[in-house]
Amino acid sequence: MKARFNLRIILLICLSLFAIMQVTPSFAMTLNQAKAQGLVGEQVNGYVGIVSANAPPQVKAMVNKVNVRRRQAYLQIARKNRTSLNAVEAIAGKTAIGKTPRGYFIKTPRGWARKP
């Protein structure tokens, strides 16, 4: 009986924290959360883009960090395969957009649109 009671309390606390995290902007948002909320999206050039200029500064900062780390990873792959960074970026962009779920924003040459 006592064990079940404790478990429920823990579960309630966890769910509350999770709910608070979703609403409070001061908590760091993950890339997937930002994508799910339509704030950011994948681009054909292999990097994450900001859909709306009104996105919170934390989101913009997070996107910049993500893109810097992506570029480093792309450079490694380019060096390893003795090809250009552009080539790797293009392939990564195509892959990322391919993996994007329906309804999420993607940036095409025509601009931002929800993936059909």
């Binding site: 990873a73 792959i77 395969n81 990322a96």
Partner: protein, 65 residues
């Protein structure tokens, strides 16, 4: 028999006439360099390798993808 002399004189000229009538056969190297085909094949191989590395990257670095 009458034209024996004439025939004998003209006969060596016959192959010359045939050569003049026959079509010219020219042997030329192909205009397209073969290296173009090789480049395309190499590019495709690199593309496949990069795509594989990118897939691996997406699996490993889930935080930035």
């Amino acid at each position: 028999m009458k034209h024996a002399v004439r025939t004998t004189l003209l006969l060596p000229l016959l192959p010359l006439a045939l050569v003049a009538c026959s079509p010219t056969v020219r042997v030329m190297a192909p205009q397209k360099p073969i290296t173009i085909n090789l480049n395309v094949k190499v590019q495709q191989e690199i593309r496949v390798k990069v795509a594989k590395d990118v897939d691996e990257l997406f699996k490993e670095k889930k935080g930035i993808f």
